[in-house]
Symmetry: C2
Subunit: 227 residues, 2 copies
């Protein structure tokens, strides 16, 4: 790795400062300060994000001319959609929904979905569909920051929200291993492909955009489910 | 299946009349009348189509909100890209290229690619990316007509072109089973989803468009490699 690549990687990692673990809603969540309706609102709204992740990843596949990258990237779709029955991340999120007292039907109906969440998620899918595929890969690098938040969240849910069945927390557990593995591959692709200062600046901007997506999702949920 | 669905299915199947098995280049191919440069030109140009198929299928995934359809459709990407090493349809096509006397490098470099083939293939990928996903699925239904052509072609290659190593014909053999299985699923999706007269007319138009794509590819190859 060249010095340039080191600086680029550092600039990407510095976006951690803008990650949504610092959002007031997440801080209150992990401090055990949210009520049942707030947890339910978060789970129901965040489902819209989960549901769109495979479409975002398929958009990256559709734009990617490199078969080796596609062979690796398609695993994200398999992880999230599953291949049969109750497999996959979307199903795991529905089990979380049931564990917090929502029915699968009410989550899938999108009746709790607030407009700001829809707009932010749709913006992310549109970004993946319309921007160069390397930028879309860079935008996925919030996964570099996810494991810390995910392990904090797991501990917080088990400690502070005993009314949530622990069997419903499988999504978070799965992501503890999936996210670092996926992020490592994405980082490698971005560092290999984004060589010019302009490409690197656009990759950092893509990651910054993704931080905005996640932050806006929490803004919208926070406003919809006040203390 | 309603009478309406029967009529719709018949209208889709009737597009067989416009399938590229009737193109003069294919007729000469299967009659053993093509020279080595013509076969090589066809293989090198058709590679561009093969190479873009997973991107077309990923575009359909990206546009499809139904997880059950995606779970089934993603198998096409796995079949074509393979998951490692020499697996998958693209690799099988490169082995065909070697069997007809082309190097992998010259095929992948696209140096033999003629503009009309590029335009037709790109039009197909753009169609999948920009049209409703059910229409893109309908456009894939040329696979209903493929097995007959594929078995004729296999027999013709073995009989008429003994200079081509039979080990290189694996792509055609694989498609004998993959195409009917894929077409059956696609037909089921299209018949289930396209209920109104307008939707059904657009599905038939999508399949007609795809016949035009395949036909134009052969027009361009035929002009580039005359007898």
């Amino acid at each position: 790795m060249t010095a340039d690549a080191d600086g680029f990687t550092a600039a990407l990692r510095a976006q951690a400062q803008r990650y949504h673990d610092q959002h007031p809603f997440h801080i209150r969540m992990n401090a055990g300060l949210l009520g049942r309706q707030q947890i339910r609102g978060w789970v129901a709204n965040r489902y819209y994000y989960q549901q769109n992740i495979p479409r975002k990843d398929a958009a990256i596949l559709a734009n990617c001319p490199d078969r080796e990258v596609r062979r690796r990237w398609v695993r994200r779709i398999l992880d999230h959609d599953g291949t049969a029955g109750g497999e996959g991340g979307i199903e795991a999120w529905l089990r979380l929904a049931e564990a917090v007292g929502l029915s699968r039907e009410e989550v899938r109906s999108e009746r709790h979905l607030v407009p700001g969440v829809r707009f932010a998620v749709d913006a992310y899918v549109t970004f993946a569909r319309t921007r160069p595929w390397t930028e879309a890969v860079a935008s996925s690098l919030t996964e570099l920051f996810a494991p810390d938040l995910m392990s904090e969240r797991l501990a917080a849910f088990e400690r502070c929200y005993p009314w949530i069945d622990r069997d419903g927390l499988g999504y978070f557990r799965d992501r503890l291993t999936q996210a670092p593995r996926d992020a490592e591959h994405a980082l490698q692709v971005v560092v290999e492909r984004c060589r010019s200062a302009d490409e690197q600046a656009r990759a950092v901007a893509a990651l910054s955009f993704k931080c905005d997506v996640l932050w806006s999702i929490l803004d919208a949920i926070d406003h919809a489910y006040p203390d």
